[in-house]
């Protein structure tokens, strides 16, 4: 049985970590063909061909596929769908934009954010902000699935899959890209970092977020934030961790000035070690923390930064 996996391609480059994690999930379903689509996607296709477990790579390059606009990307996938029983992707915002559209065009349900593969039709996924895990079995002929990357290890390299090119489907011309506002950063990417340091409303301002960032840089960590910190303008939206932000599962997660609402826990409670720094000893974050420090973060975080190695 064959699996079509939509690679995560950003500006012509393969997002290797997210794609390789989805490959691990997809391998359990059958032979994996990776689709690299974009305004330019050849280099991404070449990179995907090296992922261990990839049987074939399809490259679709067309201006209409740039910026992963949902309508043209979904039309492309549907044009290829006949050959595959599973159509899958890492559960990124790009894939969440595209895959439900693909599913509806194929008249099947989408299975979003799957965290485990039980068999070819059966998947586990979290519901209610991760407060329950549901096992669902699809009766559809084709299964359209996105995989939560935090739950799968990245497939290694060493593959040498054949690369073919395919044409774009007809562009429905419904939407156009205007601009991206993407902050360049030398820090590790939030969803693949080994350590994440996050700040919440307790940090108090955009300026004070510098103390969170200093600790992150000392640990070579990514920076995260609670919704309250993002809503208050202390941190950009792409740092939000939680039910409606990013889901992370690093080796170490440090939460400073974060109360621990279920919507935040949904994005980080699978981290290996959780450290909470909060001045309120009753804060719910302490219920999931391996190490809790009741302290003012303005004292504790700089002290931690200074004393670490």
């Amino acid at each position: 049985m064959a699996v079509l996996l939509l690679a995560e391609v950003n500006n012509g480059e393969l997002a290797l970590d997210a794609t390789a994690k989805a490959v691990t999930a997809a391998k359990a379903l059958g032979d994996v063909t990776v689709l690299a689509a974009g305004g330019s996607a050849a280099a991404a296709g070449e990179a995907a061909a090296k992922i261990d477990g990839v049987a074939k790579v399809l490259v679709a390059e067309d201006a209409s596929l740039g910026h992963r606009l949902a309508e043209s990307t979904a039309a492309l996938i549907v044009s290829l769908a006949g050959d595959y029983e599973h159509i899958v992707a890492p559960a990124t915002t790009d894939a969440k934009n595209v895959m439900p559209r693909v599913a509806a065009l194929l008249d099947v349900m989408v299975i979003s954010d799957a965290t485990a593969v039980v068999d070819g039709a059966t998947f586990e996924r979290p519901i209610y902000a991760g407060n329950a895990i549901q096992t669902v079995k699809s009766s559809d002929a084709k299964k359209v699935v996105t995989f939560r990357t935090a739950n799968f290890d990245a497939a290694g390299e060493g593959g040498s899959a054949a690369v073919e090119t395919v044409g774009a489907a007809e562009n429905p011309g419904l939407s156009e890209w205007v601009e991206d506002k993407v902050a360049e950063s030398d820090r590790p990417e939030l969803t693949s970092a080994g350590i994440v340091v996050s700040g919440g409303r307790g940090v108090g301002s955009e300026e004070s977020f510098a103390i969170i960032e200093a600790l992150a840089d000392k640990l070579n960590a990514a920076v995260g934030a609670s919704r309250a910190a993002v809503d208050s303008g202390f941190a950009p939206n792409d740092w939000q961790v939680g039910q409606t932000g990013k889901v992370v599962a690093p080796d170490l997660y440090v939460a400073a000035g974060i109360s621990g609402a279920i919507q935040h826990l949904a994005g980080m409670k699978d981290s290996k070690i959780i450290v909470a720094i909060n001045k309120d000893e009753e804060a719910p974050i302490f219920q999931v923390a391996d190490f809790g420090l009741v302290a003012d973060l303005f004292d504790a975080v700089p002290e931690l930064t200074e004393k670490l190695g």
Binding site: H67, P100, D180, A183, D231, D238, T244, Q263, D290, K307
Partner: protein, 252 residues
């Protein structure tokens, strides 16, 4: 222009969810139910479009159990003009799948002919994040998901979207489907006089069969379980103590 806003009745986001002992789902009997928070943002945006003179009518629609009437009354109290309830289930534990919801909405859209549909980006119960995209596919309309800014200008709309890398702005052809994210606006509370007024606003009742849509689920729920609980942690006394513990654990 008419605005259509689908709203879902879900467990209130402050309620602690309990998994039923028999593994069939989450206990929804006698718990507080509210409008899905993302849908509140969609209703608010629709009302603001009307207040800005860009829309002339706001129609709220809910698909589910009869009790979703209350959710529609909330939308009416916030400022929607009228409501449509499509009864598609009897048991409060039955969740109509996004594909079936999208099919019913597509039929409602054909009848109502709105210029825009504003959906929440996801429902906080099934967290599927799918209905808006599916509706857009079925109608062959443009879609703009995860919106944090919306600016309608004649036959197109500029939408800023919250994406993994930051923000993306796209321009979509009208009519369109927009799914809204948390930072689009802050929804208003309904005032008491408006809650009273909402009781007299029109609320039509239909069934899924009226639209000829089969709501049989495509996904069978095999089981619902509690997530694995984390082992209890400890409190440390000082930063030095914390560093020592982290070193012991090999974390730094």
């Amino acid at each position: 222009m008419k605005v259509l806003v689908p709203v879902k009745r879900v467990i209130d986001y402050n309620v602690k969810v309990r998994v039923k002992a028999d593994g069939t789902g989450v206990d929804l009997a006698n718990v507080k139910m509210s409008m899905n928070p993302f849908d509140e943002i969609a209703v608010e945006e629709a009302i603001r479009l009307k207040e800005a003179g860009k829309a002339d009518e706001v129609v709220a629609v809910s698909i589910g159990v009869k009790q979703a009437q209350e959710t529609l009354r909330t939308a009416l109290a916030m400022g929607a003009d009228r409501a449509i309830l499509v009864v598609a289930a009897d048991d409060v534990h039955t969740d109509i799948e996004p594909l079936a919801v999208a099919k019913i909405l597509a039929a409602v859209v054909k009848e109502e002919e709105p210029g825009i549909v504003l959906c929440g980006k996801q429902a906080i119960d099934n967290d599927m994040n799918a209905t808006g995209q599916m509706l857009s596919a079925l109608l062959g309309w443009s879609q703009a998901t995860f919106a944090s800014e919306l600016d309608i200008d004649g036959d197109s709309a500029k939408v800023t979207r919250e994406v993994d890398g930051g923000l993306q702005t796209i321009s979509v052809k009208m009519p369109t489907i927009v799914t809204v994210d948390l930072r689009l606006n802050e929804p208003r509370y309904a005032s008491l006089p408006n809650i009273m007024k909402a009781k007299r606003k029109p609320l039509d009742e239909k069934t899924a069969a009226d639209y000829g849509v089969d709501v049989t689920p495509r996904l069978e729920i095999v089981s619902t379980t509690e997530p694995e609980a984390r082992a209890a942690g400890i409190k440390v006394d000082s930063v030095d103590d914390l560093i020592a513990k982290l070193k012991d654990a090999g974390a730094v």
